[in-house]
Symmetry: C2
Subunit: 227 residues, 2 copies
């Protein structure tokens, strides 16, 4: 498909976000849908990672993407151009998504798929969160798992400066490993910094542009989807 | 100096931020202090840019730096190691600084300088804001000017996706120009994207690591300080 809906999501300030998140997570588990909340700074490579991942896994599972952005539909266009099902969520200036905004997106996604004559059920849905290493970490979206991307040019000290993001994520992808020779980035030091905040986090170095290291990420996703 | 204070700034939710910002800006103008609010994503090179800038300008004007971070004092250590006067502001999880937090930082900075037997007046104070391309743009800190850094690896489409940051800034530094050959970054396209949001913004390509292009930035700062 090469078209997608653009949804202006509204903030629900009245409800308890944690309760809504737990409710959404339970509903998704019941439906057999795995929701992965993908977070990073702007420009770390979320969209490129998703584009390649969908290409690699689309034959073995049904996938869709919810692209969240403050404005523009650059990312949904990129994903839709790969032939994947995508929806664009506009946050209206908000710096993060909460569980209610995520649920609105999932409802619209199912509606868009149904109207396109497709099966609205998806094995795997990616939420590409707003590019921001701070605020998205504060809000449980109801996702099955949280994944953070840190790209080599950003530096290996970021878990010290943005601790919550690295505390709430289950997996950290270290992207743009192809340019590591041009930057002062120490992967072992980065892993130590992550583990000082979150001993359980898995760290996988990748290059979404070349495909280097992506197999380990695909295996991690397969395990997650198969539960 | 090789020591600096770490300040836990408190949010003042009662006051009108815009009024406080205007008041602070007027007070700074009266004192002859130029305050530059430096904003960017994590890892765009704010601290490296400041380190080199201080080295270049310290003989012609008195400079100090307020480093804002959610946690850690990595940046204040880096700046203090260059011999510059620095103070570390901790935001306690907050994703931005407002005018009141900025004023608290300036008061503590003056106090630290006085206690070190130094002149508390500074011609130029840099506020290195929290690494975040979204929220800091929403809060007027009272600064004389807003400067955003966008580094080449982040991509030339960022003004479309994070419009407010590029609307509120007076100058955009495009950092890490040395790695431009390894990334799909089109400087002319980036400038078009900035100007579509903010026709008045100045764009200066630099490499803070090598010093490339920094003279234009120093000249811009000299004009600002001389008023």
């Amino acid at each position: 498909m090469d078209e997608f809906r653009v949804i202006e999501v509204k903030q629900n300030v009245m409800a308890s976000n944690d309760a809504e998140a737990d409710e959404l997570r339970a509903a998704l588990a019941h439906e057999g849908t795995t929701l992965v909340n993908l977070m990073s700074s702007p420009g770390s490579g979320k969209t490129t990672t998703l584009g390649r991942t969908i290409g690699a896994l689309a034959r073995e599972m049904s996938i869709a993407v919810m692209e969240a952005d403050i404005d523009s539909d650059v990312d949904a266009r990129t994903i839709a151009a790969t032939g994947a099902d995508a929806i664009q969520l506009h946050t209206g200036g908000m710096c993060h998504l909460d569980a209610d905004m995520c649920r609105q997106g999932l409802d619209e996604l199912a509606d868009q798929l149904t109207h396109s004559g497709k099966d609205p059920h998806r094995d795997l849905v990616f939420l590409e969160n707003v590019g921001n290493l701070v605020c998205p970490a504060e809000f449980d979206t109801g996702a099955t798992a949280n994944v953070a991307i840190l790209s080599v040019p950003e530096g290996d000290d970021k878990p010290l400066k943005y601790p919550l993001m690295f505390e709430v994520c289950d997996l950290v992808l270290v992207n743009k490993m192809d340019v590591a020779p041009y930057f002062d980035f120490d992967l072992a030091r980065f892993e130590d910094n992550v583990r000082s905040r979150n001993p359980k986090a898995t760290v996988i170095p990748i290059c979404a542009k070349t495909g280097e290291g992506m197999d380990a990420w695909y295996d991690w996703l397969r395990s997650l989807v198969r539960g």
